[in-house]
């Protein structure tokens, strides 16, 4: 499947990655070659093969519904770039 510059721009926007034109052009090139390599998958007959999401056939363990965490806001916010009154600050979100 060929990759267009628009595909890279779209992916960059979905992933919220700022790219300048030069970078975008390089990634079109890189990604095209990677996808070309990946496209070898298309030749395989996988009819009837169930997708494998986890290497072990294990199932989810459930934890008891108990509160085990206490307030550690001060500690967690020490590594935060911008906080005020216990809130994380971001540029105004327009609803």
């Amino acid at each position: 499947m060929a990759l267009e510059p628009e595909d890279v721009r779209r992916a960059a926007h979905l992933a919220r990655l700022g790219l300048d034109d030069r970078e975008a052009a390089r990634y079109v090139d890189d990604l095209s070659r990677i996808l070309e390599m990946v496209d070898r998958l298309q030749a395989v007959d996988t009819e009837g093969v169930a997708p494998l999401a986890h290497p072990l056939d294990a199932t989810q363990r459930l934890r008891a519904d108990e509160v085990t965490e206490s307030d550690q806001r001060e500690r967690f916010q020490r590594c935060a770039p911008a906080v005020e009154n216990g809130l994380y600050l971001v540029p105004r979100v327009v609803e």
Partner: protein, 486 residues
């Protein structure tokens, strides 16, 4: 002291030949002297190490020493360490001082080990040469012009250079085994789910696994015993007892059935590497093992499948780095989208961006079935190859990498770099354990023999590696770099 194995150091500490503080001071001095050139550490935690060493010495004096008490080691900078920067090799987390400890970090601390610091790595564990680190490339102690491999390149180089007797690495597509091979040490990627991933910064969650890197299989056994086990905080960790991995080390290899995957000895394998590997296999035959050829027919699909699955998971796992709660945030964002786009553009390096873009693209509408679903189907076929092979043989053997360590800067094209991992990647897709042991040299650069086993066969793999190390001395060789008078 720096040339001793973990096991030897444990015996020396127990015998009172030296204290943990003396050992720690000696290694810190060595790091101080040598790591400027090697660049294997991102952060050295000297003060905390000395405190931990003193605690260990006091515990020993009080008769409360365990098998790992006072032993120094290093942690790949992907493991969260409370109060210590956990950068993951990225500018994004350059300022991230973790508020909590990873489960394995807690376990190692509880066992009385002494962490000397955090080792260099490819950014977010994405790379095979350690050239993708925000903190600069690591050099291979065997040849400073060569890469140490990646992504656990710092851990491998530090152990090889005798800066630390053992280190933790992580392996998503070969990131423990390939650098272990390139640096002439022993590295084990355990079965997926054997070691908790809690607190290990995620790259590709269904493939990531932490494991030990040391000089010998015996040391890996000691360390694996300390970090393995079920963790209630990791849903994918396996509730299964942890054996004493040292118990079976000495078991006889007589009757061992070794399979050589035909696909691991084909085009692209450097003849000198093949020769070293075949020589190692001959050693096994002399130890009573039988060898036969097997086939893993979907081998060539492993890299394509991996470069769909791993980037897809990574693109999602790395969305949390948005400049809001931790990590890099750009200056003066004009609005929310600007905050996201610039923080992430500035915080992530080129390879990370490349993989985020691939993963985002292959998961997006209209492509999901052709890429992601297809790759997961192929993943099942790849796992089945191994399950079938282990019906007939006990272990599989082959090269860990098609070539020895290549030169720094030699591989500029991402795809040719990806193809380096041809022999290691399928193992992560299948979730089986794999290990690399030193098996010779090509032009002064180490060659690694890769040994693979069925799920949860770590004891067997360590036994097979250990017996080899009793019969050979490749793992005893030391690089000229760092020798006192070199």
């Amino acid at each position: 002291m720096h040339d001793k194995t973990l096991t030897e150091l444990a015996a020396a500490l127990a015998a009172g030949e030296f204290s943990s503080r003396e050992l720690t001071e000696s290694l810190l001095a060595r790091i101080d002297r040598l790591d400027g050139e090697l660049n294997s550490f991102i952060t050295v935690t000297a003060d905390a190490a000395l405190e931990a060493a003193d605690r260990a010495d006091r515990a020993r004096a009080a008769g409360k020493a365990g098998p790992l008490t006072g032993l120094p080691l290093a942690l790949k900078d992907i493991f969260c360490t409370q109060g210590v920067r956990t950068s993951c090799g990225s500018r994004m987390l350059d300022n991230f001082v973790s508020p909590y400890d990873a489960t394995v970090v807690e376990k190692l601390a509880a066992a009385g080990t002494v962490s000397l610091g955090k080792t260099n790595m490819d950014e977010f564990a994405m790379g095979s040469s350690n050239e993708n680190s925000h903190y600069g490339p690591v050099k291979n102690p065997w040849d400073l012009a060569a890469v140490p491999g990646g992504s656990s390149g710092g851990s491998a180089a530090a152990v090889a250079a005798g800066l630390v007797p053992a280190a933790l690495g992580t392996d998503t597509g070969g990131s423990i085994r390939q650098p272990a091979a390139f640096c002439g040490i022993t590295g084990l990627k355990p079965t997926y789910g054997r070691v908790s991933r809690y607190g290990m910064v995620a790259y590709a969650s269904s493939l990531d696994q932490g494991g030990p890197m040391a000089r010998t299989a015996e040391d890996c056994a000691l360390l694996l015993g300390a970090i393995a086990g079920h963790d209630l905080r990791d849903s994918t960790s396996v509730a299964r007892g942890v054996p004493d991995y040292r118990e079976e080390l000495e078991a006889s290899l007589s009757g061992l059935k070794i399979g050589l995957p035909r696909e691991y000895f084909g085009d692209g394998l450097a003849p000198e590497v093949e020769a070293a590997v075949r020589e190692a296999i001959a050693v096994y035959e002399s130890l009573g093992a039988s060898v036969r050829e097997v086939s893993l027919p979907h081998t060539e699909l492993a890299i394509p499948a991996y470069y769909v699955i791993a980037p897809a998971e990574a693109s999602s796992n790395l969305s949390r780095y948005d400049g809001v709660r931790f990590g890099h945030r750009c200056e003066n964002p004009t609005d929310l989208v600007d905050l996201y786009k610039r923080s992430r553009a500035e915080g992530f390096g080129e390879e990370v961006k490349r993989r985020i873009l691939i993963g985002t693209h292959t998961l997006s509408e209209g492509f999901f079935d052709a890429y992601y679903k297809k790759a997961q189907q192929v993943r099942r076929l790849i796992r089945q190859d191994f399950l079938d092979a282990f019906e007939d043989v006990d272990v599989l053997m082959g090269p860990a990498s098609p070539t020895p360590a290549f030169d720094l800067g030699a591989k500029k094209d991402p795809v040719s770099m990806y193809l380096q991992d041809i022999y290691t990647i399928a193992i992560n897709l299948a979730g089986i354990p794999g290990l690399s042991v030193p098996a010779g040299f090509v032009d002064g650069r180490p060659v690694g023999l890769q040994i693979l086993g069925p799920h949860f066969a770590e004891s067997r793999l360590l036994n097979v590696a250990h017996r080899f190390q009793q019969a050979t001395d490749w793992h005893r060789r030391q690089p000229a770099f760092g020798k006192e008078n070199a």
